[in-house]
């Protein structure tokens, strides 16, 4: 797992939105996958969890029901089903790999060697894997709104630069960008899109850099 060459990270406000549970699920998946590969963003996530912890610790107390503590202590002995351990599969970090049963994604051809596998599709938002041979353009997958693309293998380039494993490109539909897979390994990307109106209204702010080191 390459950890040190990631150039394009999650913008800070987006990371805070993830920690506090405010990101639409498709983007939360991209953030979770990126953090699985990126020490810097994991450290930043933990820093924001610490802020949340300080706030929780200072929260005003609201008394719980009288019997709650005893009932909870009794529940400690009730066995819970063991969680299936989440694990990466090849280039796919665990939160992505969890979305397909088999060892490899269920690829469907889009022609000319380009393949996709839809992992999640919920009206406003979707997440898919795209496999693009070198020299080919990434198919347009946006429905308007924001797109987040995480490279899992190979690399691509467009007007915003070069993106390799672990790098995240964020664009909204107003940005015309045609990512082309670079020479070398077939480029595999995780691409998420969400057109929720409320969320997209906040987007310009969410993409502003705030205070990353």
């Amino acid at each position: 797992m390459s950890m040190s060459h990631i150039q394009h990270h999650i913008p800070e406000p987006l990371l805070v939105a993830y920690v506090s549970g405010n990101l639409p699920e498709p983007f939360a998946l991209v953030v979770a996958a990126h953090i699985s590969l990126c020490v810097e963003c994991r450290a930043a996530m933990e820093a924001h969890q610490q802020v949340g912890g300080v706030i929780l610790n200072e929260e005003k107390c609201v008394a719980v029901s009288a019997g709650m503590k005893a009932a909870l202590l009794d529940l400690l002995d009730v066995p819970v089903p063991e969680e299936k351990p989440s694990r990466p599969k090849g280039p796919y970090p665990a939160p992505v790999a969890d979305l397909f049963e088999t060892e490899t994604p269920d690829w469907r051809s889009l022609g000319r060697g380009v393949k996709q596998s839809i992992l999640m599709d919920k009206g406003a938002g979707s997440v898919r894997l795209l496999s693009i041979p070198s020299g080919m353009a990434m198919p347009d997958h946006s429905h308007g709104g924001m797109e987040m693309t995480l490279v899992l293998q190979g690399s691509f380039s467009d007007v915003q630069g070069r993106f390799a494993r672990g790098d995240v490109e964020i664009a909204d539909s107003s940005v015309t960008h045609t990512p082309i897979a670079d020479e070398g390994d077939t480029c595999i990307c995780l691409a998420a899109t969400d057109a929720s109106l409320k969320f997209n209204a906040l987007l310009p702010r969410l993409l502003q850099p705030l205070f990353r080191i």
Binding site: E25, A43, E46, L56, L72, L76, L210, F211, I213
Partner: protein, 202 residues
């Protein structure tokens, strides 16, 4: 850092560590380590006493009804018991760890969706607490607490709303009011620690 090889050694070493720094490591951390390493129910009861009313207040402020809030509190604290092995005092304060569990539970309940989580970095089982590291983290948390205490009430309120799960223009702007130096130093410390742990694993 002292490595332990067997559980009985571990308990010995934990005790000697306790003797050395118990006055310095926060009670919360000691309770949580007792829950993690010794499945100590009395320590869990202490965590309940501290966190249950705060978690309930937190859930109500982020939109849950009274009954719903208690369900969330119960689920969060059960997860604290069952997922205790994932608690790593070198990387997270107890309150930060519980905060994240609470946000995840509330989202799962409200939206009926599974919140995607990053791969868990497994704590090495034979890893005895490194008191210096834990104390450094606690000291930073104290600084963060002080810095947040200096914000004006409006700014403080907006930041709280953001971390409680409300997203709006104004509270995104409020993030610029966060004590930046403290957060940056926390990120640097966290990165150094993570890189160190990664080296051990790979």
């Amino acid at each position: 850092m002292v490595r332990r090889t067997r559980k009985c050694d571990a308990i010995e070493e934990n005790r000697s560590l306790d003797a050395k720094v118990s006055s310095e490591i926060s009670q919360q951390t000691q309770w949580m380590l007792a829950v993690r390493d010794e499945r100590d129910r009395a320590a869990f009861a202490k965590l309940f006493d501290h966190f249950a009313p705060r978690l309930k207040g937190f859930a109500i402020r982020s939109g849950a009804s009274n009954a719903h809030a208690e369900e969330i509190v119960q689920e969060v604290l059960l997860a604290v018991w069952h997922k205790a092995s994932q608690f790593d005092p070198h990387r997270a304060q107890v309150s930060a760890w519980i905060y994240q569990i609470a946000r995840n539970k509330q989202i799962d309940q409200f939206r009926k969706e599974d919140r995607p989580l990053p791969e868990v970095l497994l704590v090495e089982e034979d890893d005895t607490p490194d008191a210096d590291q834990i104390l450094a983290l606690e000291q930073e948390t104290q600084e963060l607490h002080t810095a947040l205490g200096k914000l004006n009430p409006e700014q403080r309120e907006l930041i709280e709303q953001t971390y409680l799960g409300e997203l709006s223009h104004s509270n995104i702007e409020s993030l610029t009011g966060l004590p930046l130096g403290t957060i940056k130093s926390r990120i640097r410390l966290g990165m150094a620690r993570l890189r160190h742990e990664m080296k051990g694993l790979r």
